[in-house]
Amino acid sequence: METLMDILTELHPDVDFDSCETLVDDKILDSFDIITIITELNSQLDVTIPADKIVPENFNSAKALWALVEELQDE
């Protein structure tokens, strides 16, 4: 979780990722950001997020994203 938060904060230092639940819906994260996050996660945690998991529900909050990472690590 900490790794994820670091990645996110580096991208957008001024956003409160603990509470925000509309990261995609409010266009805080654009497609560039999403890809950057996925590549970072891949290099740092060795999880691969496949394209079909890139849906707003998974990227709207840090919590949801972390749940996705854990689910993928579990497989």
């Binding site: 890809i35 590549t39 891949n42």
Partner: protein, 524 residues
Amino acid sequence: MSFVSFEFLLFLLILFVLYYTLPRRFQWMLLLVGSLVFYAFASPKYLIYIAVTAMSTWAAGRAISAEYRGRDSYIKETPDITKEQKKARKEAAKKKAKTIMVLCLVLNLGILAVIKYTDFFISNINSLFGADIAFMRFALPMGISFYTFMSAGYIIDVFRGKYAAEENPARFALFVSFFPQLVQGPISRFDDLSKSLYEEHAFDAQSITHGAWRVLWGYFKKMVVADRLAPLVAGIAGSPDKYAGGYVLALIFFYSLQIYADFTGGIDITIGIAKMFGVKVTENFDRPFFSRNIAEFWRRWHITMGTWFKDYIFYPVSVSKWMMKVSKWSRAKLGNTVGKRVPVYLSTILVWLATGIWHGASWNFVVWGLLNCVVIMISQEISPLYDKFHKRFSFSNTKGWDIFQMFRTFWLMGFLRVLDVYRDVPLTFRMVPTIFSGRGWSEMFSGGLLKFGLSTADFVVVLAACIVMLVVGILQGRGTVCGQLSEKPRAVRWTVIWVLIVIIITLGAYGIGYDAAQFIYNQF
């Protein structure tokens, strides 16, 4: 059967009456029959193409879903299944499904590629090697780019397990051929469209009225603005030797207006008609000329195409295993800051190449796509700087600054679009600089612009229509205009509609233009 024709209105009327008088379980079948009739009117010979795409995609989707069902029942019904067994079964199913999907994509994108790009390919071979291969000159079946992309999106979604495949071939054929969106899109997604497409619809006066309003508004944009400007744009672009300098700037401006009115108007007609049949078609525009930068513009213009490329090309390519490797390699070799951007930028370039090619089979579209890409990347790169600038200067948060940004985006997009008008890369790069040469300006304003069949009165109409479109755009920012209009008293509502109809009929640029001189009895 063009949207702007009496035949189409008659067709619509008949279909509409049948739709709400026949038993409701026949409604979707009627839409299918209507769509086939519509298609047959345009090009009966090409029904075969759309039939092949619809049926092959339907069969492939069904096969994939069957595969997944087999997998699920195996996992469920095998007692004491181990995690490894489960995984192996899943992978086997995925592999099989992938083969089916790839075959389906190769077939249908292949048809599109052959029909749309063979001549482009031949002309490049010819000019590269001095060969003289004859062109194939395939006629493009109506809507092929749209229905092929819709089918491709569907099969990928079924493969991804986003939804189960449609079992009924006729219902699937309706999704692919639904007539209002055959001409210029949008590129609908199956899960968005299917529910309201197959549902039974009661006669809902409110929704039908709103649909009709939207259709009227679309006709207004198309007939009063776009079709009026068409001869002017074609005239200037058609004689680049004669019309340079100031004319090129006028061309940029009027072409931007024309394409906006034509495309958004067409989509308004599409969405409005669908709504009159109770079908909800995805929005394709979100007031694009209010965008403050190009990236935003592309999120608000031809939205369904943008999201299609994002979901089916940009994301899969960016997160592919191969790209992850590239990313690791580039970080190691180029350092973290640069390396991190490599995958995103590579995918971006790919998407814009594809977007360019999608618009048309010629180099001007390729160059146009890449230029869009370059502008977006530059603005991405300078955005930190931009943020600093915003913090430093207070005026950057004012309305005026917003308007300046919109203005800038309008012209930037306009300049890129010149490639689309001249359809010739070297010519475009020769013409654009003439704007700054001072040529043509005085001629243009001393009657030059009146030589293309548009009178001063026509320009006044265009200006007035632009003001109306602007006001409607601002109103749209506060919610749907239909919604706002329905809250007004009946007298206001009906007057607005009455005025709109009278304006379309009277000021619309349709039919044979009146020229008193034609009627002068000059022969015998």
